[in-house]
Symmetry: C2
Subunit: 129 residues, 2 copies
């Protein structure tokens, strides 16, 4: 992995993922589970959990890099637009820095939904183990 390398992956926020997330983490906040509440707050429907995107980042780090001996050291994410059920997200990442002395790679990323709307962005530090 070297500076400038890019990665791309498609994710979809399916009903299985949404319901599975609620099953395991028990977050039933009304913004995410009550369409009437979410609409009162100005959204088109229940807003998907931001941390579903962090689950996608887990998949990216664990499965989409050219090596498997990796471990997430830190993560940052900023949510800029709501994501709804069945939204298809395109994930774009680029290696921003490689710190060979400490076996660390810094990756910048963002998620887009059609048409070219950035919904979240951030940074991931990945250690080579």
């Amino acid at each position: 992995m070297k500076k400038g390398d890019t990665f791309q992956h498609s994710f979809k926020v399916t009903e299985d993922i949404y319901k599975g997330f609620i099953d395991i983490f028990k977050d039933r906040n009304p913004l995410h589970t009550d369409a009437v509440f979410a609409k009162q707050k100005g959204f088109a429907g229940q807003v998907m959990f931001g941390n579903i995107l962090n689950g996608f980042i887990s998949y990216f780090a664990g499965e989409c890099l050219p090596i498997k001996n990796v471990m997430i050291v830190s993560q940052e994410i900023k949510y800029s637009k709501p994501v709804y059920l069945n939204d298809e997200l395109e994930f774009y990442a680029q290696i921003a820095d490689v710190f060979e002395s400490v076996k660390l790679v810094e990756i910048k990323y963002h998620f887009e939904k059609s048409p070219k709307v950035k919904v979240a962005q951030g940074k991931i530090q990945i250690g080579i183990i």
Copy 2:
């Protein structure tokens, strides 16, 4: 919610959560699924997914605050120690800043496992909606 307010919650990384996380996010990286690989890398066994802790943060933000009309705006997490299956984690959070003009609350947090070992820490920005 005001500056200095503190929160605490106990979480356990159960088998249901671990297996559920794999089911929904499909991250089967060997560090998290192959005990032999993880031990070769110096760990005591499969390391739990860091993003399980982010799922716990979703629960905290959605369910443990005194108000429900909240939305995570951004999150940061730094992982400092491995978490293993069935580890019991204590989550400590404190409101670091309240920005009333933009209805934003900044919370600093960390997760500990017994005996007083900090396993992860970070910051969450929560918007009041």
